[in-house]
Amino acid sequence: MSGGVLGVALRRIGVSLPLVFLVSVLVFVVLRLIPADPVAMSVPPNATRAEIEALRAEMGLTLPIHEQFWIWFAKAAGADFGKSIAFAQPVSRLIGQALPATIELVVVAAVFATIIGLAGGLLMYRVAGGRGEAASDLASTLIMSIPEFLWAIFFILLFGVALNILPFTGRLDAGITVGRITGFLLVDTLIQGRFGAFLNALSHLLLPSMSLALGTAPLLMRVLRSSLMEVGNEDYMMMARLRGFSERRVLVHHAFKNAFLPTLNLMGVQFSFLFGGTLLVEVIYSYPGLGSLMVQAVANTDLPVIQGVALVYAVAVLLINLGVDLAALMLNPKLRIAK
């Protein structure tokens, strides 16, 4: 049984690898359209033409584009994305510093989104047919119309500026430093037994992750509700009711279990959007993650960083989808036979 899961996992990885290659081709080609000259930004204004040409040759920009690509790709495969033009540091180091922060944010946001999405979906299903239906419908449409970066600004205004009860910049209060072990603050603070710092890091995560979760949850609610409605017609639901189970038990043990799978499939797509949503939310909360790095790199036209971060984003999305597919496979035996 688990062999089936493993086989599918390997097959999926086999499909993903060419995709990663094509993603890097796409990124490379698009960024070569740029009118700006990366060399012009790394030399002093009084550089001579000869100096510029020398640097151009040194950066490999005189080579044909496909050769440039192969050099870059061969190095990128070994996690060497070159050196940042603006920060004068290896791109891989910049990414290594930013990635744990973003993963931490995404994981906490995904937990919130799941809780809100599932609870909201069950609630919408329960009020369906009654007076609450129109209200819950309208509320979910309204919430769905608010993208995560507007939630982010709204939360800053409400909890940060007006009520002043939650922090909204960075990962920790100024003055608190945590030794770096894994880069995940929630993990590092616990390893070092510093609960004060742990709570501080958690409070910094609260607003950005809630913004992301509210941008993601409404669709989960809707899909869960409509799949609950679909399974509501099934014979086993009728049987469970006839056997005298309470409505709550029928809902949780029979309806929810079966209705969860479509929701899980959607989660894969939604969580990869959530990953993209971190971009602006991080900028708004001055949160030092991949998104902040990307936006800074875009502002500086820092090509090596843009390429590296874009590739990391794509790989992350592929991994999330792979994980969700495997989870679906383990939860639903039917899928194993079908393939």
Partner: protein
């Protein structure tokens, strides 16, 4: 009472005359359409409606609050940090939002639907290529891909529209392709072919009308998404030129002064939310009204 058919119980309790019942599924679409139409009109007649030039600076009247928060009627919604009239900037900002919504969403529709129909109708190698292309595109979070494209193309209204088209065509392609695969299996498609219709004519006369309601729904939702993406891009300074007022730019500008002048930040946010809500209500309403399965539930 069975939970599975909630609308049935509702309609049963209040037996409405048939004529009114047939309008009910459209209610949501009508409200959404009205919101969208209003904003469209504001965008079209912006020069007539706006009391000031959106870029006119009045350095003696910086960061004025709106009239209900202690401001004056010279600037009903206040001014920004350069003393520019917020109302006028909001009105002109609707132009960028609407142009991007209409142009980018239509472009994505044409590109995505064309590929979807070709893939779904002909199948085989074409379908394989289009499906792999969609998979490739879905590797990127949409915001990241549009940002990369803008870096490649450079800023400006036309490039923003192009970037959104090149990112969001997959939304149409995925859904429409699945629908075309279903439509394709119908006997009337074979009948059309047997009657001597060319492929092109079969697509135009039989396949397109069958998927049109779906396309219309996605179009409306996509317009809302385009408004958001444009706001995101202009928020990070990667959208239109700085002389053109856009809601995302207004948010980015007002963020610096959020402690002194909160309304400058809240108003453009509300403008975006109302616009997107309008498109979502319209799209959602169209889906309910045009999808026979859903409609039955409401009318029953």
């Amino acid at each position: 009472m069975s939970r599975s058919q909630p609308a049935a119980g509702q309609a049963g309790a209040v037996p409405a005359p048939r004529r009114r019942a047939s309008l009910r599924p459209w209610r949501r679409a009508i409200v959404g359409g009205a919101i969208v139409a209003t904003i469209m009109l504001v965008a079209i007649f912006a020069p007539l409606l706006a009391p000031y030039d959106p870029n006119e600076q009045d350095l003696l009247n910086q960061l004025l609050p709106p009239v209900w928060a202690g401001g004056n009627w010279d600037h009903p919604l206040g001014t920004d940090n350069l003393g520019r009239d917020t109302l006028s900037r909001l009105i002109y900002g609707s132009r960028v939002a609407m142009i991007v919504a209409v142009a980018a969403a239509s472009g994505a529709l044409v590109l995505g639907t064309a590929l979807a129909i070709v893939a779904g109708y002909f199948g085989g190698i074409v379908d394989w290529i289009v499906s792999r292309l969609v998979e490739l595109w879905l590797c990127f979070p949409p915001v990241v891909l549009s940002l990369i494209l803008i870096v490649g193309f450079g800023v400006g209204l036309r490039n923003v529209i192009l970037a959104i088209i090149l990112v969001d065509w997959t939304r149409f392609c995925r859904v429409v392709r699945a629908e075309v695969l279903v439509v394709r299996r119908n006997d009337y498609i074979d009948a059309a072919r047997l009657a001597g219709f060319s492929h092109w004519r079969t697509i135009r006369r039989e396949v397109l009308p069958a998927v049109a309601p779906l396309i219309l729904t996605i179009l409306s939702l996509e317009m809302g998404i385009a408004v958001i993406v444009e706001a995101i891009l202009s928020f990070v300074g990667m959208s239109v030129e700085s002389t053109i007022p856009a809601w995302g730019v207004m948010i980015a500008d007002a963020r610096k002064d959020m402690y002194q002048a909160v309304w400058g930040l809240v108003l453009p946010i509300l403008a975006i939310i109302v616009t997107v809500l309008g498109f979502n209500l319209l799209g959602d309403g169209l889906r309910r009204a045009l999808d026979p399965k859903l409609r039955q539930r409401v009318i029953q």
